[in-house]
């Protein structure tokens, strides 16, 4: 089963982080939270989450990386040269997946991996993703990228990531009451 590393920088958006881990683990994938310091990390709304590993550890061995948004979480990812190098390294390798949502997508732009690819991001973020084909869709998978819009969209984002990694999410959507809740 594929493995996913979620990169949790200080100021991460809690829902965009823990909901993604929740869903990907339910989907049967290995999914670990990476922090950039020892100990719990504070999110955008003051919640502390304990990581599984401290970056970089074995992050390069994972099949996919996920960059959540949040303020200043997304900016902290973009301003970390080691994260930008990792994105470029994943982009250069066949079979690796790079996923980002909300303000996390600015790290993809910084790494220069969005040119000519279909992406989405938070409202108004088209201008932050020059060279990309920005779509007004809840979650977008194109080439080696999966992107999504914002705080209320980690469900379709995580389902899209799981599907890109070969998991059928139709039963999971039912079990999590996503369809019942009006999820698109």
């Amino acid at each position: 089963m594929a493995s996913v590393a979620v990169l949790m920088a200080e100021g991460f958006e809690e829902g965009e982080t823990v909901t993604v881990v929740d869903i990907l683990r339910r989907a049967g994938l290995t999914c670990d939270l990476f922090a950039f310091t020892e100990g719990p990390v504070m999110g955008m709304h003051g919640m502390y989450v304990h990581p599984d590993k401290v970056f970089p550890s074995d992050v390069k061995s994972y099949d996919a990386i996920v960059l959540p948004g949040g303020r200043p979480g997304g900016q902290n990812l973009r301003e970390n040269p080691a994260v930008i190098d990792l994105i470029r390294e994943f982009d250069a390798q066949d079979g690796k997946l790079i996923a980002a949502m909300c303000s996390g997508v600015i790290a993809l732009a910084q790494a220069g991996v969005v040119a000519g690819k279909k992406v989405t991001g938070y409202t108004g973020y088209a201008k932050k993703l020059p060279g990309a084909v920005f779509l007004d869709e809840v979650a977008v998978a194109d080439h080696n990228l999966v992107t999504s819009q914002g705080p209320a969209t980690p469900y379709p984002f995580a389902y899209k990531i799981a599907e890109a990694l070969g998991v059928d999410t139709s039963a999971l959507r039912q079990r999590m009451l996503y369809t019942l809740a009006g999820g698109k």
């Binding site: 938070y122 914002g150 969209t153 469900y155 809740a181 009006g182 999820g183």
Partner: protein, 49 residues
């Protein structure tokens, strides 16, 4: 759903609708929060009801 002093909800993916119901019950404006969170992009407006 709300009945008297109780607000209840069903499962993992209904946490947004649940949270917004709490906001409204406490006198907040859930519509503004929904819009900032891009809720209507992911979920139907009636929350599946």
């Amino acid at each position: 759903m709300r009945d008297g002093t109780l607000i209840t909800s069903r499962g993992p993916a209904t946490a947004y609708a649940f949270g917004y119901a709490l906001v409204d019950a406490m006198g907040g404006d859930s519509l503004a929060v929904k819009n900032r969170m891009v809720y209507f992009s992911a979920f139907e407006e009636d929350g599946g009801n």
